[in-house]
Structures are given as C-alpha cells and as structure tokens.
C-alpha cells in the first residue's frame, strides 16, 4: 500500500478516526494493528518475517542489557541473524550470480542457484533501525524496551516502515509511550506536509520520470546535451520522489501526534560531497556514521585510515541501496570524492566562492546519479562517454531546440510542464521551508485557501494516471 494510492487514503482516514476516537491507553494497539495490516497488505506471508525479527530482537536486547559476560557475543549473534535475513532476501541472488560469473570466466562451469524471493518491503530500513537499537542498548545509551507491543510498534510503525526515516530508539520509543492528545495545529501541519509531499511525488517526480524513463529506456538513440538534460531531470526526480515520500511519512506521523526526524536539508545547496551527505538521507548518513564509521575508527587513525574508512562506509552504503554493481560504484564514487576532498583540503587552503562549490558538488552528485539510475554499468559508461559529444554545439540555439524536440518528442505541452515543474522544484530547494510556510500563513484567508486549492488542483490534474512506485521503496 503506497502513500499515493486511493487504498492508503481510505486506510489512513479509518486509522486516523479510530486512533483519535479511542481511549489513550489503546492508541498503541490501533497503531500496531494498523501497521501490521499495512505491512501484510503487500505479501501477508512476510508478516511472519517482521514478527520473527521483532521477537528475536526484543529478547536479545533484554539479554544484552542484563548479561555481563556474553554481551558482545549476543549482540553479534543477533546482528548476524538480522543481517542474515537481509542478505538472504536482498543479496543472495546477487552474490550467487556474481560468483557464478567469476567462475565462468575461469572456465569453471557450476550452476549456482538463483532463488525466486521477493524483497520484503522496508527490510533494509527496519533491519538498520533494529541493529541501531541493539547497539544503543549494548553501549548503555538506551534501556531495552520491556513492553513487547511498544517494541513491535517501534519496528513496524507504518508511516516510516517502507522507506524510513530510520529512527533511533531513544527518539521514537518515548513518543510511542507518550499520551497523545488531539492538537489542531499539529494535525494541520501534518496535513500540509503530506500534501506537499504528494505534490512533489505525483506532480514533479512522476512527470519528470516520463522523460527520464523514455531516455533510459532507449539510451542508444540519445547523445550529447539530451543525455545531460536527462541526468539533470533525474537528479530532481529522485530528490522530489524521496523527499516527497519523506514529507508524506512525516506528515502522516505528525497527524498521529509523532515527530519523525528530518531526512533532507536542501542537499543540492551543499558545498561539498561531505556536506551533501549531511543534508541528504540524513537518517541513513547518521546511522552509517554512528554504527559503522565511528566503530571502524572514524578519523582517529590518521589521514589514510580515515580515507579508507570513508571508502568502506560509502561502498557499503551503495550496496545497502541495492544488490547491483551500479549501486556499489555509486557508493564508492561518493567515498572517493570525499577522500579527494579531504586530500585537497589538506594540501591547499584555496578559498573558493560558495556558488562554485555548490555547482561543483551538484555536478559530482549528478555524475554519481548516472550509476544509480542506470540498469547496468555499460549503460552508465555509455552516458559518460556520449554525454559530451558535440560539446562545441551546446550553445547553438538550433542544437538546443533540436535536443528539446527529441527529448520531448516535439510535445510543447510536455516541455512547458516539465520546465515549470523543474522551476518549482528548484524554488522549493532554494527558499527555506520555514520562510515559505511563514509567508503563506501570513497571507489573508482567501489567498491562503486559493494556494491550497491550487496545490490540490495541480496534484489532481497533473498527476500521471498510473500510480508510480517510490524509487526508495525497492530498497
């Protein structure tokens, strides 16, 4: 059940009414049942998986907290089980296939098995969330949750189950136990957030996807500027898709009285790749920093050791996104860029204007998105190889018109829509949300409501007829 479907709309209205109309002490029961239904509505059999994960980790955390001798062993064993399940469903086929290819290259013909396993929705997210929780309990920074119901809800809380944000135990668990009272301002704020997220996803991301999918679907017919424009469109597609999802998740949670962590902070205004990761998918960056980078030694082992740690972390971060070499290269590329930035920062003290830094970071991140979006490495290499063909003509009006004509199949309506939506996406990125929100709230009622009507009207009229999945849901 995706946030942008009619079934979710009906589901949420029901949950919303039941939740706020039921006595406080039963609110968590409503949420837990709703979350299990939400998860089970996809493949009911996979409910067993999340239930098993819940039970194992619930008891493991309590044992880790109480045990004095085998703390570490139990922690590692439980993490091994958690990551083992993730590996089984997400990576087994990938590694089996890759290993088979290697064997084939050395003329060793062994048919390694491929399993028909569907990736359980949200498995990467809730596995990381629970591993973080276990480590926090092990470190003593968090007491284990003794109430199985609250713990189960911590793991499968439906607003953030599919694609995060990856929450910390110490941030979400207290909220689950808190008595929530109906606050008009919070509900309205959540509703606005959800609507903006829906707008980003259904209007901006899905419309940009029309062009992006067309080009990536028949790459050999495109060269030069058309490839560059497509990559730019994809940078905004993925951003509005994922941040749209996050806004919706946070909006839904807010309407139920919860505050989930912010996942984005104007990432395309970052002044370095390192800065980008402090603004993009913040909950994941934070997880990798606290539970992998720092345990690996962080930046305490000297320059080269730090660079190696960064490379390890980001390569694994790439692999976390998907079982494919394109994601591994994407992650490794980010790691490499950060290592280079550190090196440059060490050997020079060059003062570069902020605008240049932003342009540089956006360009690097855009190059990395090529790997992220491509079906395979050869597609990515094709784009890198042919994107700058005819570079000298890039400024020619005829060339630009011909490119636009090819990209939009000479459809001026589509072109105008895409340009307007891109402008809106950039505007939303540049203008801080709080300023925008304050500006809107200061307007007279008629103007304010006209803006809301316009927003909803655009969602309804400009959306694609087919519901498109969120990009990050498949991770």
């Amino acid at each position: 059940m995706l946030f942008n479907t009619f079934s979710f709309f009906l589901f949420f209205i029901t949950v919303f009414v039941l939740y706020w109309k039921s006595p406080n002490k039963f609110q968590w029961v409503i949420l837990l049942l709703a979350s299990l239904y939400f998860y089970g509505s996809w493949i009911p059999a996979y409910l067993g998986l999340i239930v098993v994960t819940t039970i194992i980790n619930y008891f493991a955390a309590i044992v880790i907290y109480r045990s004095k001798l085998y703390k570490k062993q139990i922690l590692f064993f439980t993490i091994f089980i958690d990551l083992g399940i993730l590996f089984l469903y997400k990576y087994l086929n990938f590694f089996s296939f890759s290993f088979g290819e290697i064997l084939l290259n050395i003329n060793w013909k062994i048919a390694l098995p491929q399993f028909k396993l569907l990736l359980p929705i949200g498995i990467s997210f809730y596995t990381f969330q629970v591993v973080g929780y276990l480590v926090d309990v092990y470190r003593g920074s968090l007491k284990p949750e003794k109430h199985l119901g609250y713990f189960a809800l911590f793991l499968c809380f439906f607003p953030q189950l599919m694609s995060g944000p990856i929450e910390r135990g110490k941030e979400l668990l207290p909220q689950l136990k808190k008595i929530h009272s109906f606050e008009y301002s919070q509900i309205i704020s959540g509703l606005k957030l959800f609507t903006i997220g829906l707008f980003k996803k259904m209007v901006i991301a899905d419309n940009l996807a029309v062009v992006v999918d067309r080009v990536f679907g028949s790459l050999p017919t495109y060269k030069g500027l058309s490839l560059i424009i497509t990559v730019i469109l994809f940078t905004w597609q993925i951003y509005t898709d994922f941040s749209g999802y996050t806004d919706m998740a946070r909006g839904v949670a807010k309407m139920l009285g919860f505050n989930l962590v912010e996942n984005f902070n104007a990432p395309y205004l970052a002044t370095s790749v390192r800065d980008f990761w402090q603004r993009w998918h913040i909950s994941l960056s934070r997880w990798f920093r606290d539970y992998l980078y720092i345990p690996l030694g962080g930046n305490r082992g000297g320059f080269w050791r730090t660079c190696m740690n960064v490379m390890i972390v980001f390569t694994l971060c790439g692999l976390w996104h998907g079982a494919s070499w394109t994601f591994v290269v994407w992650g490794a590329f980010h790691g490499l860029m950060m290592a280079i930035e550190r090196l440059v920062g060490k050997i020079t003290k060059l003062q570069v204007p902020t605008v240049i830094k932003i342009i540089y970071t956006y360009s690097m991140v855009s190059i990395s998105w090529i790997f992220f979006r491509s079906q395979n490495l050869s597609d990515a290499v094709y784009i890198l190889r042919y994107a700058f063909v005819g570079f000298k003509s890039f400024m020619s009006v005829h060339y630009i018109l011909a490119t636009l004509s090819q990209l939009f199949v000479t459809n001026k309506v589509e072109m105008v829509i895409v340009v307007i939506l891109l402008a809106i996406a950039i505007f939303l990125e540049i203008v801080p949300r709080i300023s925008l929100s304050n500006f809107v709230s200061k307007q007279p009622t008629i103007i304010r409501y006209s803006l809301y009507v316009l927003l909803v009207l655009m969602i309804i009229q400009l959306r694609d007829a087919n519901i498109k999945q969120f990009i990050y849901v498949r991770f």
């Binding site: 509703l191 199949v409 309804i460 959306r463």
Partner: protein
C-alpha cells in the same frame, strides 16, 4: 476533528468544481463523452435465457463458434482471461442462464500456469467497460476504477497531455514513412482481405466440407506456425506471466467454477480447444500431463466430462485450420465447433435439434 474534515471538504469541493469546469471545456473542444460504467450490479433476469455458455481465454473465444448451434448461446471467453475472471463473468450473468444450461469451460494448456491477476494489472481495466460489475472484478484497483469511471472529470489534465502526445507521435511516424510504404501496405491489406474472404466461407458450415477437410488435411507451408511456436514456447516456459507456482490458485478457481455451476444447476463440461501439433511438438513431451492433466486430476471434477481436442490429430495436424500455433482461425473454429457439437449431442448434453449445420450435398 470535525473542523479539519470540513476545511478539507471545502477545498476538495472547490477543486472538484474547478476540475469539472476544466473537463467540460476539454470535452467540448474535443467532442468527447464520459465513459461511465454500463453495469454496476449483476445483470437482471431476462425471459429468453441462455442455453449454452463458453468460458475461457482467447483459445475458446476464437475457437468456439456458436453460429450453427440451435438455442441461445453466450460467449464469455476473452483474451488472457483466467479462471478467476471466468467465475466473475458467470456470476455476472447468473440470472440470465437457464437451469440445465451447458457451461463449456476451456482448460487450455496455459490455464493453470497463467499468472494471477493482481491489483493494478492491466488486464482488469479491460473489464471496466461494464462487462463485469466492479464488485465482481477480482482484486480490483478501486482508486483506478473510481478515477477513470466514476470521477473521470478529475483526469482531463492527463487526458489532454496524452491526446497531445498521441497526435504528435502519429504525426511523426506518418512523416517518417516513405510514400512507397503506403503503396506496399495497401497492397498487403488487399491481399489479406482477399485471402481471408476465400478461406472463411460459408462452405465451412457444410458438414460434407468439414468431413473432407478432416479426411484430407490441407497441406500448406506451416512456417508461420513454427515462428509462432518458438514465441509461445518461450512465453509459456520463460516469462514471468506463467509458472508452476500459479497451479494451485488456478486449480482452486476452477474448482470454484465447477462448484458454482452445480450450485446453479447448470451442466459444466470441461474441454481443451485444439492447438497445433507444431506447438505440441515444440513443448516438452510431458507438458500437457504436467500443466493440464495433473491439475485436472487434483481437482474434484464431480465426474464431469472432459473433452480434450488436443488429442484429435485430424485437427491438430491440419495447419490450415490455425491462425497461429495456439489459435484456430475462422475455418478451424467452424470445423472444431461442429465436432464439439456432435460430442455434446452424443453425450446427451444437447438435443439432436441443436445441430443447425448444413447437411446438404455440396455438389448438386
């Protein structure tokens, strides 16, 4: 809470009114009408009810021709239609089918391995036109149904863009075509029309012609059957649309159809419409056993008759009866439907008077 719902409702109502206005302008410009659903509920009772009904996918749709059957017949077979939809279709027509009516259920070579239709699968949109009530369409995508049929004015923005896009695509493809392409294409069309009009003639409702065809199978080159066979074999074995994992669900759906027929006091008959021998040879030798017969053995058929026409080599070997490796053509349908009718009469499902085929001597 009430305040929030009221405010939301006001915004939504205003948006609906504006959308309705936009849509009215759009439909006025392009002279378009709404495609509202024809039938929301199951069909009403009629006086003259159906005597014989066919269910199944395109094999049955193309292969069973009721033209020369006496009695009122109903075709409920359709392209890619799984058992689940057969049942929905039957329920839709429940009040219009006579007690004791013959229900022909086609257990085709792909019926059990066909992928289950899920929410959002394209197949279900085929049934939005009212053929099946939205309450009966299995796993209906409610949101999709509502936005396309109940509130179509909410998608004029999308329709406008689609229309614009299609027009331009057509223009581009027309501009890219060379004049000689049109000449060739027109000639091809003429030839096809001539060929089809000579192949499917009224003669094939003449029993003597049918018998002659069966005794002396037409020998035409069957290269097109071989090409089609390769395509089908790959499709049935190697694509996501088919697989042994769907056996159980499809078997259960067949069971539901049979049980429903008995409940309604109809007489179900299982058949398998013939496919070409070229296809049967291209599939693994145990294909029919594994994909069809074993599934039938596991189903509680309540002793109902099963007529498997893939074993009739007079039919399967005659390449002139097939449009492609797994579909009969018009002539094949006439020939096969005659044999099916005779079988139904011989087994007492239909009276002798049901046979309206032409028995006059061909050459007077």
């Amino acid at each position: 809470m009430k305040k929030i719902f009221i405010k939301m409702s006001v915004i939504i109502v205003v948006v609906f009114i504006i959308s309705f206005g936009i849509d009215a302008i759009y439909r006025n410009i392009y002279h378009l009408k709404y495609e509202l659903p024809q039938n929301i509920f199951i069909l009403p009772e009629i006086k003259d009810k159906y005597d014989i009904v066919k269910l199944g996918n395109s094999h049955a749709d193309d292969g069973i021709d009721f033209s020369h059957y006496e009695g009122k017949s109903l075709g409920l077979a359709s392209v890619g239609q799984p058992f689940e939809y057969d049942l929905a279709y039957l329920k839709m027509h429940t009040r219009q089918i006579k007690k004791g009516a013959v229900i022909l259920i086609d257990a085709s070579p792909l019926s059990f391995s066909q992928k289950i239709v899920g929410v959002g699968d394209a197949l279900q949109t085929n049934y939005y036109d009212g053929r099946i009530s939205p309450f009966l369409i299995p796993n209906i995508n409610v949101g999709d149904y509502i936005q396309s049929r109940i509130l179509p004015f909410l998608r004029s923005g999308y329709l406008l863009r689609q229309k614009h896009m299609e027009e331009i695509q057509t223009r581009i493809s027309n501009e890219e075509r060379r004049p000689q392409d049109f000449v060739t294409q027109n000639n091809e069309t003429d030839q096809k029309e001539t060929l089809s009009s000579t192949i499917i003639t009224k003669d094939y409702y003449n029993v003597q012609t049918i018998q002659e065809e069966l005794d002396n199978p037409s020998s035409v080159p069957s290269n097109y059957l071989v090409d089609s066979m390769h395509f089908i074999v790959n499709k049935w074995y190697n694509t996501d649309g088919f697989g042994v994992q769907y056996f159980e669900t499809n078997r259960k759906d067949l069971q539901k159809i049979i049980d429903y027929c008995f409940k309604m006091q109809w007489r179900p008959v299982l058949i398998t419409v013939p496919v070409s021998q070229v296809l049967l040879n291209g599939l693994k030798s145990d294909y029919m056993q594994v994909y069809v017969y074993n599934n039938l053995l596991k189903t509680n058929l309540h002793g109902l008759d099963y007529f498997d026409f893939t074993k009739n080599i007079q039919l399967t070997n005659d390449s002139f009866l097939f449009a492609n490796s797994d579909h009969l053509n018009g002539k094949g349908a006439a020939v096969f439907s005659y044999l099916l009718l005779r079988r139904l009469i011989d087994r007492g499902y239909l009276p002798e008077e049901a046979d309206k085929y032409d028995y006059s001597p061909l050459w007077k």
